[in-house]
Symmetry: D2
Subunit: 357 residues, 4 copies
Amino acid sequence: MKKLKVSVIGSTGYAGKELVKILVNHQKVELVHLTSSTFAGKKLAEVFPELLGRLDIRLIDMDLELIAPDSELIFTALPHTVSLEIVPKLLEKGIKVVDLSADYRLKDPLLYEEWYKKSHNQISKDWLSKVVYGLPELYYQKIKKAFLVANPGCYPTSVILGIAPLLKCKLVEPQGIIIDSKSGVTGAGKSLSLGLHFPECNENMKAYKVIGHSHIPEIEQELSNLYFGGDSQNKEGIKVSFTPHLIPLNRGILSTCYLDLKDDHKSEMEIGKIYQEFYQDSPFVRVFEPPNLPEVKFVAGTNYCDIGFKIDNRVGKIKIISVIDNLLKGAAGQAVQNMNIMSGFPETCGLNLTPTN
Amino acid sequence: MKKLKVSVIGSTGYAGKELVKILVNHQKVELVHLTSSTFAGKKLAEVFPELLGRLDIRLIDMDLELIAPDSELIFTALPHTVSLEIVPKLLEKGIKVVDLSADYRLKDPLLYEEWYKKSHNQISKDWLSKVVYGLPELYYQKIKKAFLVANPGCYPTSVILGIAPLLKCKLVEPQGIIIDSKSGVTGAGKSLSLGLHFPECNENMKAYKVIGHSHIPEIEQELSNLYFGGDSQNKEGIKVSFTPHLIPLNRGILSTCYLDLKDDHKSEMEIGKIYQEFYQDSPFVRVFEPPNLPEVKFVAGTNYCDIGFKIDNRVGKIKIISVIDNLLKGAAGQAVQNMNIMSGFPETCGLNLTPTN
Amino acid sequence: MKKLKVSVIGSTGYAGKELVKILVNHQKVELVHLTSSTFAGKKLAEVFPELLGRLDIRLIDMDLELIAPDSELIFTALPHTVSLEIVPKLLEKGIKVVDLSADYRLKDPLLYEEWYKKSHNQISKDWLSKVVYGLPELYYQKIKKAFLVANPGCYPTSVILGIAPLLKCKLVEPQGIIIDSKSGVTGAGKSLSLGLHFPECNENMKAYKVIGHSHIPEIEQELSNLYFGGDSQNKEGIKVSFTPHLIPLNRGILSTCYLDLKDDHKSEMEIGKIYQEFYQDSPFVRVFEPPNLPEVKFVAGTNYCDIGFKIDNRVGKIKIISVIDNLLKGAAGQAVQNMNIMSGFPETCGLNLTPTN
Amino acid sequence: MKKLKVSVIGSTGYAGKELVKILVNHQKVELVHLTSSTFAGKKLAEVFPELLGRLDIRLIDMDLELIAPDSELIFTALPHTVSLEIVPKLLEKGIKVVDLSADYRLKDPLLYEEWYKKSHNQISKDWLSKVVYGLPELYYQKIKKAFLVANPGCYPTSVILGIAPLLKCKLVEPQGIIIDSKSGVTGAGKSLSLGLHFPECNENMKAYKVIGHSHIPEIEQELSNLYFGGDSQNKEGIKVSFTPHLIPLNRGILSTCYLDLKDDHKSEMEIGKIYQEFYQDSPFVRVFEPPNLPEVKFVAGTNYCDIGFKIDNRVGKIKIISVIDNLLKGAAGQAVQNMNIMSGFPETCGLNLTPTN
């Protein structure tokens, strides 16, 4: 069997490393090049001794002339705004791209500029009409045919999957949605800062970016599409209140979402059935029936998104609990899931990962 | 100086132990008796070797005939519903009581029955008219004269202090309040269960008692009083949506509260001023000015409640972040603060604790 | 391809669960029966929601009449001394057994009695001449032909692999060996106790069983064999000083071993070469060259044993650092490795696990 | 009562911050100046919000002309080799100094040069004859009269206190001592590095500086003095094998020491008595009687050193377990203890700290 030639640009950040760890075991893939601006020239196992004996490869600089000819699909795990320039160059060479940055997630270039303080150029803007938002549970058919997939953010993945059926089926009011998310520390990335220094972070918790986290427009874009339909660019769309928190554990996001049920709302059993149907073809979404609720450890180390819910009749709200591994379903796992779909592989190929705990 | 003779009933649970640790260093108090149903007969330092050399005392059974004559004030740190019987017996003997259970927090005995599945008896019910809810920032004058103080719950302390000024000054709508609280594991107590076994709890997080946590009526009682005034028994009062979460750290609660601002709402600066004034005589509440926000480690090991907030103009809401040490301001520290006030001691006596980190 | 029919007796403890997690993905194995005394009657995914969608099986009681006819190989993950009775019954029916208990690790039945306070019966004693100690790096050829493999303890695995080449090549004195081991909390098992309650264990560390840990005779048996040769039953053999410590993390053992180098000892480079040669056919042992040293996170989630060392010329000693995942190379992973060898599968089949971090 | 005027040079590292936290509550001290090279100009509570309302002071640069005239005693918590220059300048102005660096701990300037790669200058060398090694349990009388006290290192404190009675009473062989120490992460300081980034450090453990940790000569100097007597400069003295490990918790050192008992050694009961007598006047050393052993959480947040031991008769060794809070008895707490003694205050003044857990 001929294997797909795959490279990873930015392979030594947390998401990049997870990509490598998955792809090393992926039976339909050959890892060709791994780039790292920090560690170019070193052997992979010098940087990640845990991979000693698993892959004997030397990290290289991001030299597109070298990487492109050898690669059929490339994962770009670069800082936001860097992908803007790099990704089109790869696409032009006929290489498929799964981009893990936020640069191609927002369909509206003005929204991107507003939230990321950087403008699209003409070339990147042209790609906005062709890029597919890489949430396979919503866009499977489009991903199948895509050349460029914008891999969703970690918080948006947990939130959108958590409440998509409610909005799609118009069981809830579209406004007044409150999202309280808690993330493990790998979500903050590998850059050093005092707040992520072990003794400062351990035995602590805090809210951060309480106003204006850049994942908000991505969440609102997709929730608006679900409720109002079409590729509405969220001009008059849903506005959410989103608060992320930093929690002292390595991996995992738990999002608690509060929505107002419409008056004639369904029972928990009926809603459970709607969820089950909505996700019946989605191998990585597991719906818990009340009173069972998901916990972070059920998904840590896996590509699952586990979802549970409860109706709070006293106040007419529904609470959704949604958990993912921020580095897997929230980043690298979902990226490989997208690659699988784009390449005609089984969706779960290489992703039947053993849960951590 | 003659010291106040103090005993602790239930001194080896987490709250009881914190009481002992504070009282050992309290200059105006003499610790007379410590009871423990589990460890009666043992020396305190056999159970808590960290207190070796600090207090040479033997734990005893809860024998009221023995304890009462020697004590002027007693802390009862008993499981909920046990205090119902015990507390009046102490009060009848002229002993002041700070009760750390939930049994006397709810003014409405029917509400107590509804949420705790246990009825007041005639004697305990009589005390409901005299008991004071022990939140000194709201009830300082009443606590001063009280014989029985019902020490607030940990979540309610963080929530009520966090949003009291907003409700008192009617800056927000009284309905639609959402409270998302995160607690360290000591908040779940010392009873063994698989969910609190280290490897199950570490590197995990989860929501629990998502509907119907017993702290809800206590929160609603006090928020209703603040907004609607009087000792309204919350018949037509405020209803909140409350979700507690278990987080892998020892101590600390962080409550994120979401409220709808009234249309003509004030600026962050004006609201900050209102908070500062509201708490100007409260030595244990510290208000952070935006954009600063409190973190759990600022209060761990202390009796402080730190509060910060942000206005989310996109959705017309205000977010309040409130943090406490669940065992101190959320239990034992606040209980000693109440004792200080009841006894005419300086409010902060024995409570200038060194922060943990 | 016909798959090997495998059952797990005791599948819901920490080691049993890891077995299931590995075997679910093992391409040459069909999981037939899983027993659990605590959870019999429940679906696996009710007990371990993380396995929802991975294996649809109901846990059953340990009914040998039911399990045996369907199984070709059985893993017994039972409390020590229970295996004594159960294992021979399985063997008699022609089923191969990998026993994860300590019951068949010691060749000398008197030593077993001394350390485990329980005697072998005639039948189990007979099996002592046929059982193979399941450390594949030392006994590969014997394991290949074995019907009963005694899977090594977690501490012994880290220690024996760590220092085997030194003893085998007589580079060190056989006496005066000091072993200081540190283990994550899953090593203490799933039974509830106050010392393993999250707030008691978190932010704490301690030595335990400082004298007389039951893994000592197993370590001494194998070290003596390595140094003195033969199946010497350690009558005049090596005596070690062993101290285990409990560390607040989920998985991982780090053993620091201190040995006296013989006078004419080799250089670090020469010793490194000896280690590399000793383990050249062992896919799960990775030797680090000085000054590199292994860390627990390099092996967590994998079946590797990583080994590093340093010569301390000032005192004429060599220090060995050896790390494993206590639940994998220290239990379930090694058990599957043994099964692979016993069954003629590739040694690494099903064990190319993705590292946790 | 006139208070002692005290300043802290280097008040925002981990040890400096602990000093401030203790001194804020110390009844016989007035904090005059706090310096910080990183945060000069900021209010203390801007840097450490946990101290809001406790001390209203602005951090300043290390301007000796400004600090010296106002101060009677100064704590210097500076990086190693910086104190060499600064300390004599303070002493010349008649200010007493407790130096938390390693610069004045070694009596032999050549040893200092060998281990710290920096030479004493003539002035600092002159002070070596007058400086007192600040371990009050050994040098109380000298500390009382000292102008310069070299505050011991964290590891040395745990080790020397742990085994001093054995060496002093010649119960053990002076050679072959093995020390295996485990430290929480605050021991590694506040400087950012990838190894201390939360996700790299959490759920990990490792040995580090396995050969040549700079605390070795300090340990050997004091152990040699204890065994061989005099201010022997360890020319022919004791050589130890020392290995530090990094453990994922904030505070605490646990040292496990292995020593060879002399042939006619005493029983555990007799040794316990020797320890009790040795430390009978030392309020911060607590000796545990076998089989009780100390744990890190017994001392976290306090100035205690807790010591336990066990005789391993099978191999003729004694194992000592010694625990301290590395930031308190291992740094700031001991420094204040030294100040108390130097100033004629009660030794425990300001140090009856509440244990963390």
